[in-house]
Symmetry: C3
Subunit: 211 residues, 3 copies
Amino acid sequence: MSLHYLFILGICVEAITGAIAAGRKKMDFFGVIIIACITGLGGGTVRDTLFNTHPLTWVSHPEYLIYTSICAFFTIIFAHHLTRIMKVFLVLDALGLATFVVIGTQSLLSAGFPSSVAVIGGMLTGICGGMLRDILCNDVPLVLRREIYALVALAGGVLYVTLERYNVSHEVDVIISLSCIFFIRVFAIFFHIEMPKFDYAKSVNKRKNIP
Amino acid sequence: MSLHYLFILGICVEAITGAIAAGRKKMDFFGVIIIACITGLGGGTVRDTLFNTHPLTWVSHPEYLIYTSICAFFTIIFAHHLTRIMKVFLVLDALGLATFVVIGTQSLLSAGFPSSVAVIGGMLTGICGGMLRDILCNDVPLVLRREIYALVALAGGVLYVTLERYNVSHEVDVIISLSCIFFIRVFAIFFHIEMPKFDYAKSVNKRKNIP
Amino acid sequence: MSLHYLFILGICVEAITGAIAAGRKKMDFFGVIIIACITGLGGGTVRDTLFNTHPLTWVSHPEYLIYTSICAFFTIIFAHHLTRIMKVFLVLDALGLATFVVIGTQSLLSAGFPSSVAVIGGMLTGICGGMLRDILCNDVPLVLRREIYALVALAGGVLYVTLERYNVSHEVDVIISLSCIFFIRVFAIFFHIEMPKFDYAKSVNKRKNIP
């Protein structure tokens, strides 16, 4: 099924974001490859570990580790070209996110978890790769600050399970959920739609100025 | 049983500490909610993952995620009031720690683990939520530096299993262990009792100055 | 078997590196002990969690936690002596790495995992303790930047499974793989052999300067 190819695309795009982040921290070539693999496959790994749905994706399909390693390798060589196609890249990243969320939600539903839990699992599949990347690169996770990344992942999962419950055919459900996550995310990127930030220091100081 | 209500109180208080930490890093509202959930429920999640006692607490009770999310939401709105009740808050946090440790130790004992392992598991339940919060907020974990936080958690677990072994009735055991952890921690906070720090650079330089 | 004693040596040496890192961040004594335990036993813990080969090593052998704690304790007391024997220490660390990789690979092979997966698991056993140490100490993991640390771990695992496949006797296989990892790593330390670094900013800027 074509969802499979979108998944491969997703782990490759995520792996490239991982390789770039590793390059910003001046890691060595093998470190770049490890971060790329963790970024591409970390989301599913966190999901399968937390929900005890072993074996992990890359344990049943070790070839995925080769795909992500190759992406890391090409990122090292063609890094200077990536800045030019950054917009294309962000669009592919949105497609990857959409695929991860749909596959994650779907796999937990079919493992017998209730809808509410499957939605959380879908979101974790979408965001945890990026979170692990940023933890390993010693940054505050971007997905918790960037344009409504995590929220889109959650909303997409909710849409998926809602359609599933109303007996929408499986394929239609996948296509609708995938498209919604993808377009909302792309929309958010290009129009810089962000959630309001919670600035603790500002909240506290603002109050103190009131007599 | 009332331990259940203390547990809910515990995850809520921990969630608030998570939301404040996220606010210090200027995360967006949804990022704040995610950090709050991870801080409140991360300790039990680490325990259940490491000891393979699935399903996770929040998988069987997804409503806990709603409680911690609501706490995050209220923290965002009432952040400026929290500074005024910081002492009350620290006392509630001590109560949360005590509950986490007792519940964690108890759950591993009843899963058939030996006492020594159950004590470690109880401590992890108490400290890992805060550790995950600080890792995600890109800080060195406070629980490894703050007033005897982790040590109190370990000692409380040891007390619990010791009383259990001497056939103290279950309820009395819970009450004694809970009170001890709570009062020692509150005592440590108000009298600033800290463990000595290991300062590597200082140890090394001090030696060099000796002729 | 003597591999067992090398393993104990390995967790002790790793625990000392953890304690030193914790001391650099001025953690309290108990924080130092926790970091030491996580560094010494974290690699195996990550492996067993990801590959679902429960119980964890330190759950079946809680005495290992005592060994690593004692090492942390001695590091605190004798920190000023460690700088003098740093070279000896790095050699012991290489021996620890070699042991971890061989034991990790071996344990996954005997649990029925395919060779490719066992190699990854062996590498994770070797590097994840140090990665967790650096994450908790808020540093970018050294193993992703230091002299070919992770790559040696991977290559050693590949050698192990290759020899295994060619029906080399188990003991000879262990001795050859162990020695190779050990000597290559020691060689890399003393001659400062490093992998090339991927510097993203430099790659991008270099390109921009070309007319």
